[in-house]
């Protein structure tokens, strides 16, 4: 017979309940609260003047019952397809924009609309507060989160001559990007904290 601590090890001092982290290639990840399937990104997406989902950013998630905070983080790459690529982003939960997640990204204007060199990594994130007394999705606060909520990142471009594409490599291997080099897959992270 072993020691009692072999069967009942001391509790971890970590307040992390679970972590979902994956590259968006269609994989399924099982954690304590369930199995989650990430989107499968196989191409890039050009921006328009209307908001649309960045592929790879969506997850329908239910945190563990004792979660008090949930981090959503979406790491992706954007590239200019028109001058400086001024573009706007936000985190959406169940169809509601979280106002304070709003971000605008852009490169410097080249002085010429014909130069589309700028391309960078960026991230959208929000830490949901599950200790609120009532739901306030606009602020990312919830009193009760016991069923799936759909979280995603949406984007649009500022205007046509300053266009942007997400998950995009404009150049690769010394030339214009082709084939599998035209896109790069983003990653999604969920961390539930107690």
């Amino acid at each position: 017979m072993g020691n009692i601590t072999d069967f009942f090890p001391a509790a971890s001092s970590s307040n992390i309940l679970e972590v979902i982290k994956g590259s968006a290639d269609g994989r399924s990840i099982t954690v304590g609260s369930g199995t989650y399937t990430l989107e499968n990104v196989t191409t890039h997406l050009n921006g328009t003047d209307s908001y649309q989902k960045i592929p790879g950013s969506l997850i329908a998630y239910t945190p563990p019952a004792d979660a008090r905070s949930v981090l959503y983080r979406f790491d992706f790459k954007w590239h200019s397809i028109g001058s400086s690529a001024i573009s706007h982003y936000y985190v959406d939960v169940d169809g509601t924009r979280i106002t304070n997640s709003n971000k605008t990204f852009a490169e410097n204007y080249s002085g010429n609309h014909g130069h589309h060199h700028g391309g960078r990594n960026d991230s959208l994130y929000w830490v949901f507060d599950l200790t609120a007394s009532s739901d306030n999705a606009v602020n990312g606060e919830f009193a009760n989160w016991s069923s799936n909520k759909t979280i995603q990142t949406k984007f649009r471009e500022y205007g046509g001559v300053y266009g942007v594409a997400t998950n995009y490599n404009r150049y690769y291997d010394g030339g214009g990007s082709t084939g599998s080099n035209t896109y790069t897959i983003p990653s999604l992270t969920i961390i539930a904290l107690k």
Partner: protein
């Protein structure tokens, strides 16, 4: 007297098995799966139009046996190269596992063209990140999928310039510092590797 489980609660369902993180300054870090020594970056690195290993990016890693996913993130600084025609610093980065390129992680990053090849101002922190999936039925490293990972495998980044002499890049570089040209130890920035193994 309370219940036994009040005194010895079950471990959390935390899915993180271990995190290996360090600055590429030659340090050694011990985690449950072993001791790992990081590269030692002491200078910036100019690129060329052929792929070369990015200094500080290589690490040879064996995850814990119960790992289902391994995340590798390499954060570094890039600059437009401080030479005539350097301008926007377009460069390509590629992730390799044991010598095989993981194509979906390919990235091309750059600042925007300034309108003048003599303005080499673009300067950013960049990163490349990929989460290897160890739950596959067979190895498909080009897509970052493995059936098992029980022996040491080298993870590294390779990079090249888009072209020459135009739009060249340099990495780990600070061109400016304290309102003037960088000098001494301020001319380079050591990158960071973060590996997380998940069950």
């Amino acid at each position: 007297m309370g219940n036994l489980t009040d005194l010895f609660p079950a471990p959390a369902s935390n899915s993180v098995l271990e995190t290996l993180m360090g600055v590429a300054d030659g340090r050694s870090v011990t985690v449950p799966s072993g001791t790992y020594t990081f590269g030692n970056v002491t200078a910036s690195q100019g690129l060329s139009t052929s792929y070369a290993d990015v200094t500080g990016s290589s690490i040879t890693y064996t995850p814990p046996t119960e790992a289902n996913y391994v995340s590798y993130k390499f954060s570094y600084k890039s600059d437009s190269r401080d030479i005539n025609y350097g301008s926007s610093g377009i460069h390509h980065i590629a992730l390799y596992l044991d010598g095989t390129r993981v194509a979906k992680a390919n990235k091309s990053v750059a600042g925007n063209y300034s309108g003048s090849h003599s303005n080499n101002h673009a300067s950013f922190t960049q990163y490349i990140e990929f989460v290897f999936d160890l739950t596959a039925s067979s190895d498909d490293i080009a897509n970052g999928k493995l059936a098992s990972w029980t022996t040491p495998k080298e993870i590294k980044i390779m990079a090249r310039d888009y072209s020459s002499p135009y739009y060249r890049a340099t990495i780990h570089t600070n061109i400016w510092r304290d309102s003037t040209g960088a000098s001494g130890e301020f001319t380079y920035y050591q990158p960071i590797i973060k590996i997380t193994a998940f069950k």
